[in-house]
């Protein structure tokens, strides 16, 4: 059985949560480099209307399975000490953080590529769905661009 980690967070990911995650790694004396990716909800304008929030849902059983594959994959491919992925569910306002990837390693060399790779895998392989909500309560379904 693959270990399923707590990945999904109801609501926005707070800066305090990120600070706590960082602080937890300060007892690991073999870590020299951390790389963190944060996805923030943009107030994009579509045909004159502004996005005010994204409402995230997911296919949880499959998402957790995929995320643990991504995890194993990353540890095989890169020389990492720690790796964490968090994603929001529910309504996340523009300006708030909905995605947090945290990679730690002895040395810095591999952390950038590892982070980029993990972010891309989450975007392409994990069944998370997003509804972009406009000021006037109208909405459109978000599609990731590559």
């Amino acid at each position: 059985m693959k270990k399923k980690k707590n990945i999904f967070i109801e609501g926005a990911i707070s800066p305090e949560f990120i600070a706590e995650s960082i602080a937890k790694h300060q007892t690991k004396m073999n870590i020299g480099a951390h790389n963190i990716f944060l996805g923030q909800v943009r107030a994009d304008e579509v045909e004159g209307k502004k996005v005010t929030a994204i409402e995230y849902t997911c296919y949880k059983a499959m998402a957790e399975e995929k995320l643990s594959e991504i995890r194993e994959n990353a540890f095989e491919k890169y020389d990492l000490t720690c790796m964490h992925i968090y994603h929001s569910l529910g309504t996340i306002k523009a300006g708030d953080i909905c995605f947090f990837v945290f990679v730690s390693s002895k040395r810095r060399k591999q952390v950038y590529a590892a982070t980029e790779d993990i972010v891309n895998m989450v975007k392409t392989e994990v069944p998370i769905f997003g509804k972009e909500i406009f000021e006037d309560q109208d909405y459109q379904w978000k599609v990731n661009t590559f």
Binding site: H87, V126, G130
Partner: protein, 78 residues
């Protein structure tokens, strides 16, 4: 019984998040065709998953009692 799950833009069209169907010896291909005939999903790029795995080649996959089929709209995580 086979459980079919719908997500995001698709659940909006089907107006439900899941339904169960009797298997009665249908193939996966027939089940998918049945879903597509009952709901107007032509405007949404779809993926199908069987038991949490994306289906690459519909023809080659057998389905069994209690399988879970998911109809997935484009992913938008991150």
């Amino acid at each position: 019984m086979i459980c079919i799950k719908y997500f995001g833009a698709i659940a909006e069209v089907t107006n439900c998040s899941s339904e169960t169907i009797e298997k009665s010896n249908s193939s996966l291909k027939e089940i998918i065709q049945d879903i597509q005939s009952r709901y107007d999903l032509k405007h949404i790029p779809l993926k199908f998953a069987l038991n949490q795995n994306i289906i690459e080649a519909v023809e080659e996959i057998e389905i069994n009692e209690n399988d879970e089929i998911a109809v997935l709209p484009p992913f938008a995580g991150g």
